[in-house]
Amino acid sequence: MKNNKFKDKYTEKELAESFVFRNKLTPIQKAESNLQMSSMRKEMLSSVTPNQVLLSHLLQLKYQIEDYLDNPTYDGKRSFGFYLRTYLNFLNKKNKEFAKDIDIAETELSQILNQHRKPSEKLFIRLEIHSNKIIPAITWFKLSEKEKEHEILTNDSLRIREQNHVRNVLSFP
């Protein structure tokens, strides 16, 4: 805090609510502090429950999907099926068991995971309920829509096929 010029203007609490000041430690202080922090972190993480681990996995997955959705680039590897499989892996569930959890046929789940079938609205909602709202239905929906959008933009064979079904195409000079 430069020259304590803030002292009269703001309380300490107000300063902590507004700033993290530039603060350098000496190399010795930094090493000592990192060592202390590292041992405290280990101790804290040793008492983490399986439920906390699962929650952090689900949030990690949600953030990965959200950031992918925010990115305008399409990545064929990051399909709905890919993220759903990651969800299953985090839960450590087999297809059969998970299909039962969300009341769909195992074959339907398998087709969705392998991108041979599009997910339905009911699946988005069931996934939201299954994750206790950690990953909202709208996130799954947008993920599916991103694939659809890419398909519409790039499906040339469909364009050729559909051309035969359109008459009186508007013409402009």
Partner: protein
């Protein structure tokens, strides 16, 4: 992501995004206190409401340690102290650092900062940070709590 308008207690949706190079031209010391150009080597994020930058945060990554250090943070001048217009700006930025850490490092993720001695207990009280003498940090459940509180 939202902050609270102090006047009417209404939620205002905000964005937090990486800073653009052009932004540095408008980041005056009078409004954002620090010389932010010195942070160009770090990841600097801005909290934006209606095209107005209300807060800034500079992050340093230590991937080997699965840790992100909040190197610098400032709320815009009109949002400090008793007469501030919006609440939750600094908290939202700190929660966003936790989001990045969790996304990158999972359950072992850690967010730390080096506090001024006299402010340390405020960070501990306000954000449930753990005291590691020269530094304070968030890991495990306290980090998850911040994400929940700020609805990330």
């Amino acid at each position: 992501m939202y902050i609270i308008d102090v006047k009417n207690n209404k939620k205002c949706v905000v964005k937090i995004e990486p800073i653009d190079d052009q932004d540095y031209n408008y980041l005056t010391k009078s409004r954002y206190y620090f010389n932010w150009k010195t942070e160009k080597g770090n990841d600097v994020y801005k909290l934006v409401f209606k095209d107005n930058i209300l807060g800034l945060m500079s992050l340093v990554y230590d991937a080997g340690d699965k840790r992100i250090e909040i190197h610098l943070l400032a709320v815009s001048k009109e949002n400090r102290g008793k007469n501030k217009q919006f609440e939750r700006i600094a908290g939202m930025l700190i929660a966003f650092a936790c989001r990045i850490a969790l996304k990158n490092y999972g359950i072992e993720a850690c967010v730390s900062l080096i506090p001024k001695t006299q402010l340390k207990h405020h960070y501990i009280e306000q954000y449930q940070m753990t005291d590691a003498r020269w530094q304070v940090f968030l890991v495990g459940q306290p980090l998850l709590n911040i994400l929940k509180e700020y609805e990330l």
